[in-house]
Symmetry: C2
Subunit: 300 residues, 2 copies
Amino acid sequence: MRQVIECVPNISEGRRSEVVSEAATAVEGVSGVRLLDVQSDKDHNRSVLTLAGDAAALGEAIVGLFEVATARIDLRTHEGGHPRLGAVDVVPFVPIEGVGLPECVALAREVGERVAERFGIPVFLYEEAASAPHRRNLEDVRRGQFEGLAEKMKDPLWAPDFGPSGPHPSAGAAVFGARMPLIAYNVNLGTSDIEVAKRIAKAIRHSSGGYRYAKAMGVMLDERRIAQVSINMTDFKKTPLHRVFETVRSEAERYGVPVVGSEVVGLVPSEALFDAAAHSLRLEGFTPAQVLENKIRETE
Amino acid sequence: MRQVIECVPNISEGRRSEVVSEAATAVEGVSGVRLLDVQSDKDHNRSVLTLAGDAAALGEAIVGLFEVATARIDLRTHEGGHPRLGAVDVVPFVPIEGVGLPECVALAREVGERVAERFGIPVFLYEEAASAPHRRNLEDVRRGQFEGLAEKMKDPLWAPDFGPSGPHPSAGAAVFGARMPLIAYNVNLGTSDIEVAKRIAKAIRHSSGGYRYAKAMGVMLDERRIAQVSINMTDFKKTPLHRVFETVRSEAERYGVPVVGSEVVGLVPSEALFDAAAHSLRLEGFTPAQVLENKIRETE
């Protein structure tokens, strides 16, 4: 079976389109890497690249990306609304096909070390790749931002996993990690009362006692005049879509409110939908190997 | 978007493994064709090959298959439990990705005509490719088998769509067509009373007033001592899995019988499962373009 890993590097440049396109060219030029998407945000002064490929090809592409970003981005003069530590700020690897989180953790470590040595940039590992619990959360690693980094790194708790003990003068530091694919999943309620959506969000999200891999908030869809439970699913294998949907439905029922629909924003891994189908059809012993398209791809 | 068509030729040889492997080699040798599966049945003296590829490559492969089958199989001495008209008996084309039934109908006509001219074999079109309603059903086209073919073809109702007006002496005739992927889908009931399964099968199948694209019968799973509704779904886009499942469930309820599970036997197109997921999650505006793996493949 072939291996597909997704990599979603964030670089601290969202305004100079020529720099973003140089970065895109560098990763696209690596054989075995596909550039799926580039999104730049001028306010954040930040761009998100979405790549897919095998481990070796992605390693090459990320080194090429650091080459461009280190040469062209200077954090000492960088301004933008989004917190950041470095020129290439964060590099998460995401298992898609034929690989799991452990392979992505290994890849984050390997490429992080390579980048640290080659460019003299300190590298922190986060999420599944973290070397200690206090370093799991990206917000904690990034707290203090580039401007506070030299001071922060004096604390042994914040020694880097690879590379020099202080920041790179212009490129700062980089954060490498591995995580499951995110699914942005919203459930629409047949009410204009946002309080109902907020209460349901509270019931399902991890931070207030709900599902381990769900973040949620209640929002108002002004155009449709309905309230929505807006959810981020951070590990659909452990907290599946259908379970969250059913809980939203039963919590809504308590207020006499129907679920009128749901939506996936952006992309969703096929397995998340297969799981929902297997659940509702009560499929016994189903595996993705039974999917016709998977069988066809296996032989390619 | 790339095009993937499945083709499932049946040849009248299931005993001489060297002939089957010659046939497999002929189709595998065509660039752009993948041989997904070969299943030979000695009692039926018949083999089913499953190929995938684009239209042009499959056309080449089928011509190569006729080359081998016409040289190596003689219907005058062929014996087997399965009805058959020819050396290559039936050639259905099935839309999988980036194509629909109309393209498969066109392909069946085109390759059928090519084979008829090149090998002097009469070709009949069936299912979606049929040139008249009485020729849609494969069983009707095949009735009388190879032995009755010369007589049958004297009737103008059974003039071939392409090729000579009588059978090829040793290779008989071939039946080309286009159809949707079949899904073998079974629903297991929490009862050992096969009568309940038979009544539910009758309620859902087309032939007795049920869904247009469902065939069904009640069977007994001796090992598990439960009754099963065994279903063939012949067009999952028009008669979706989840609708049939729900109807089985509500019919079973009338007898106080629960649905304990269901199963897909063999392969299932991803879209059939996406549809079931979208139904149970009440997804709004979902399209397969939102599936991560599809997005990745698009860029390949």
